[in-house]
């Protein structure tokens, strides 16, 4: 879950991390006032979530008048269906040197890791362009963070004297904050050294571990996160909200994630890796999925029924493909019951609406009998996922 930069900076400030002078504004006039207060050239950063806005969301301006004009443009940005959540107006000091710091988890060692470089940028990108300028230190999520780790990192950035001591404090502070708030990623993409022992953080990106959002509720409340705000890259559509509601109202099994696309093949497909594979397979054979709706964890008949109705009611969808990998705990017969019930309730014949039913595995014999009764062909495990997708696409066109 992505934080707006102003939120990330609030967390940093609370933990004594030195920040560049900065003000959050909501209007172009406020931007002008903030810019004159700060003085000199400033940078304006629209507060957005959607990826791909990195360049568009930032403007550097020379004076308050420029700030006002730039703010007006930035406030009109489309952030995946949302308006920007204000603008950060910030000083842009050029110091003696600039650094970047990145905190994340390393899947190879399974440990949290700090990476640092003596240049600005995202460590991931720097890793491609300037691998020799990156230094790394792993630390532990099991034991408390020890300052010496930060000191060693500062040393390998060739810092000494007060610079080394101050950098040690900053890195330690960030590492503790990273662990305390269950961050998945924390990137200080630019931190400037203003003078001996004086640093200021300019740019921050931070992501919360989505699975920790419940236990981090106090911090999120402090920042003013709404309870259901998951910071998706775009605003959820009506279809997606309805799908989420169906999922939330019945704890038996899951139909998450659910996403709306602009194609014409309705998909009711198995969860996890199966749904990824099936969506790829449909596209590979030239099909255009109308949605993504992964069902798993042994959903109830009712959940499958409601999902079927939702997908079939989507404008432009005439037929659905019901497909899954070979299931272990999800039951093929219960899925079959739900799908047929949903179609029947809409007043259609199952055989007219099901492009293909390929859910082999647990309770497949019963599933086959149910489908047979309603005149729908049951594909067993000898029909591969690729073949099932091919047949579905062929039938729809």
């Amino acid at each position: 879950m992505r934080f707006y930069e102003f939120e990330a900076k609030q967390l940093l400030e609370k933990h004594g991390i030195p920040l560049v002078q900065s003000e959050l504004v909501k209007t172009a006039d406020e931007a002008k006032t903030a810019a004159s207060k700060i003085g000199g050239p400033v940078i304006l950063k629209a507060q957005v979530i959607a990826p791909g806005l990195t360049t568009a969301s930032v403007q550097e301006v020379a004076d308050p008048a420029g700030a006002k004009a730039a703010a007006a443009t930035l406030l009109g940005l489309d952030d995946g269906g949302r308006k920007p959540n204000g603008i950060l107006v910030e000083a842009r000091p050029t110091g003696e040197a600039v650094y970047s710091l990145s905190f994340t988890y390393d899947g190879t060692t399974k440990l949290p890791v700090i990476a640092a470089a003596n240049m600005a940028g995202k460590i991931d990108d720097l890793g491609d362009t300037h691998p020799e300028r990156i230094v790394r230190r792993h630390f532990s999520a099991l034991y408390p963070f020890s300052d010496y780790i930060a000191k060693e990192l500062a040393k390998s950035l060739v810092l000494g004297g007060n610079d080394l001591k101050r950098m040690t404090r900053i890195v330690s502070g960030l590492a503790r904050l990273f662990l305390k708030y269950d961050l998945a990623d924390l990137d200080i993409t630019s931190m400037v050294k203003l003078g001996e022992g004086r640093f200021a953080v300019l740019d921050v990106e931070a992501d919360l571990e989505i699975e920790a959002r419940h236990r981090q509720r106090p911090m999120l409340d402090d920042l003013g996160f709404a309870k259901d705000d998951l910071r998706q890259v775009r605003e959820p559509t009506k279809f997606e909200l309805e799908g989420a509601r169906i999922d939330a109202e019945d704890p038996r099994g899951i139909i998450s994630p659910i996403a709306e696309f602009d194609g014409n093949i309705g998909l009711v497909i198995g969860a996890g890796g199966g749904s990824l594979t099936l969506t790829d397979a449909v596209r590979k054979h030239g099909g255009r999925p109308a949605n993504y709706a992964a069902i798993g964890g042994n959903p109830s008949v009712d959940k499958a029924r409601r999902l079927t109705k939702l997908v079939l009611s989507k404008p432009g969808v005439d037929k659905i493909a019901v497909m899954s990998n070979v299931v272990s705990n999800t039951r093929a017969d219960l899925v079959a019951r739900g799908v047929i019930k949903g179609i029947t309730e809409l007043g259609f014949e199952p055989k007219d609406k099901i492009l293909i039913f390929r859910v082999p595995g647990a309770w497949e014999a019963d599933a086959a009998k149910i489908l047979q009764k309603y005149g729908v062909e049951y594909c067993d495990r000898t029909v591969s996922i690729s073949e099932a997708a091919r047949r579905a696409v062929e039938k729809v066109s």
């Binding site: 109830s300 008949v301 009712d302 039951r331 219960l334 019951r337 019930k341 019963d366 149910i370």
Partner: protein, 73 residues
């Protein structure tokens, strides 16, 4: 109305066996049975019948009193 499953209950068997009504309510993982208005009786919750997982626990509790029928066979 259930489309796939029918649960037949022999009321006289349930009434004659003390505690059986409660047992049926307890064993069903999808709440197909609820305690009836008369003592020692159960009612079928029609909305839940199609959720039947065919676990057979109700039939094990009362082999004579309950029969679960697959309507698709």
């Amino acid at each position: 109305m259930a489309m796939f499953i029918r649960v037949d209950v022999d009321k006289s068997v349930i009434e004659k066996t003390p505690g059986l009504a409660d047992k049926l309510v307890e064993v069903c993982p999808v709440n197909i049975f609820k305690v009836g208005s008369k003592p020692s009786s159960v009612e079928i919750v029609e909305d839940n019948v199609d959720e039947c997982t065919l676990c057979d626990l109700c039939m094990q509790a009362s082999p004579k009193g309950v029969r679960v029928v697959k309507l698709y066979e």
